[in-house]
Point group: C2
């Protein structure tokens, strides 16, 4: 893995400006690179979104071009040193990337060294699928398969349930455990203010808060900023993956926690 | 519309037992009918789920048969006076209904007078699509089209944002306004403890709390329990539907509220 990525939980931290909390990390990863392609597909009003991103990155001396849905999308990605995929609705983002036939171009360019950066929905689509998005499926989407730039799933805006809530809808943790009932791919619950930086084949947590790691065969695990995500450099070893079967280990785990019988 | 339905926001109210808050309404709608088909597809462990439902409805003197994914699913629906579709993950529920080829049977039986009752995910799939679900897309699903028993979308477990939150993920209202950027079908945000009862061609709100109604061409509107959902008997008239166009009325509305630029 020679790819360089920065996958950020949220574009805006409470009380701060757009991208302020992660701009230092973005600039550090970019180094001398100045050509940034911006993907505005996750919001309805792409022009307004692109304008906002252009203004923000201009403050840092970056040259920004918005990726379009036409044939110029490919040439913008060829021109760029780095791409930043903005947040919004993940279904809309992935649908537009697929309809514009840009998924393979992004993958190829990242393989060639173009830096990939994304926040929220833009981080989500870097994983194998968008099956751990928080967003509503507001547009029809035939496949949830995403860019697959990293071998783990992201859950952006991860949050712990408020201790005094009376709301009976599922907690975020319950939703991710349901994901693991059906899938055997690890999930990184990225709390707001946090990110994952991938370089030289290593994924490392950064930002203000620990992440919560979910695997089908293990109890969820907290991991601190600065820690690696791979088994060797982050924490205890995790049991080997097992194929999912109906009523198998994941079902047992969720039954033990009583996660699925409360609705 | 000769169909009878009860669409409930949540299976369990805070501090109460399974279905306690809506059982009186269910029994009132059932009248003398005693044959209930239960659809357990929204949870991973279907047998355990069916057992739980069977126990609960047995307390009310109902005979429950679980709908299976094999050919017996159709015969169970033929036998039943009413169906209750349990909550859980909406994507898993709809996928299993479609894979078991039961969507058309449910539609036909409801048209023939079988009562349809559903909670949470089970209420969601009664609408035209599941595009207003809160659930994670944990399984691949090729189409979000659902039963279409009613002409409006349901958002179960609807909730208002806590006034003091610092969380920057989208509020429920923001997510539904995003839905309306892409779709022109009204949405009923059903708060916990509430339901919609449909009989003799009329849909009426019930339960403990008002619902919030979202339309592409209007400001969201609160409607009290006891009010009807149709334009005539519930509140002010709503502007005629318009086809969505990129940058059209929905875009203007969301831009005016600034809903989409905060990620």
């Amino acid at each position: 893995m020679t790819q360089s990525l920065l996958l950020v939980s949220n574009s805006t931290n409470h009380g701060e400006g757009y991208l302020d909390h992660c701009m230092g990390e973005m600039l550090d990863l970019l180094g001398a690179r100045r050509r940034l392609a911006f993907v505005p597909f996750a919001l309805f009003d792409r022009e307004r979104y692109a304008s906002r991103a252009r203004q923000r990155f201009a403050q840092e001396g970056l040259e920004v071009r918005a990726v379009g849905v036409g044939r110029d999308g490919v040439s913008t990605l060829e021109w760029a040193d780095a791409v930043f995929v903005g947040g919004g609705n993940t279904f809309r983002l992935l649908k537009t990337l697929r309809d514009a036939d840009l998924l393979s171009t992004v993958r190829r360019r990242v393989g060639e060294g173009m830096i990939y950066m994304g926040a929220s929905a833009g981080a989500n689509v870097a994983g194998p699928t968008i099956r751990t998005t928080n967003d509503m499926p507001i547009v029809q989407l035939e496949s949830f398969d995403a860019l697959g730039l990293v071998p783990f799933q992201i859950n952006p805006h991860y949050f712990d349930p408020p201790p005094d809530t009376t709301h009976m809808g599922e907690t975020r943790e319950q939703r991710l455990l349901e994901y693991l009932e059906e899938n055997d791919i690890p999930v990184v619950g990225l709390r707001e203010g946090s990110w994952i930086r991938v370089e030289h084949g290593h994924a490392r947590l950064g930002g203000a808060r620990p992440a919560r790691i979910f695997r089908a065969s293990a109890t969820p695990e907290e991991r601190e900023p600065g820690a690696g995500l791979s088994d060797r450099d982050g924490g205890r070893r995790v049991a080997p993956r097992k194929r999912m079967t109906h009523g198998g280990p994941a079902a047992t785990a969720s039954a033990a926690r009583g996660t699925s019988q409360s609705r």
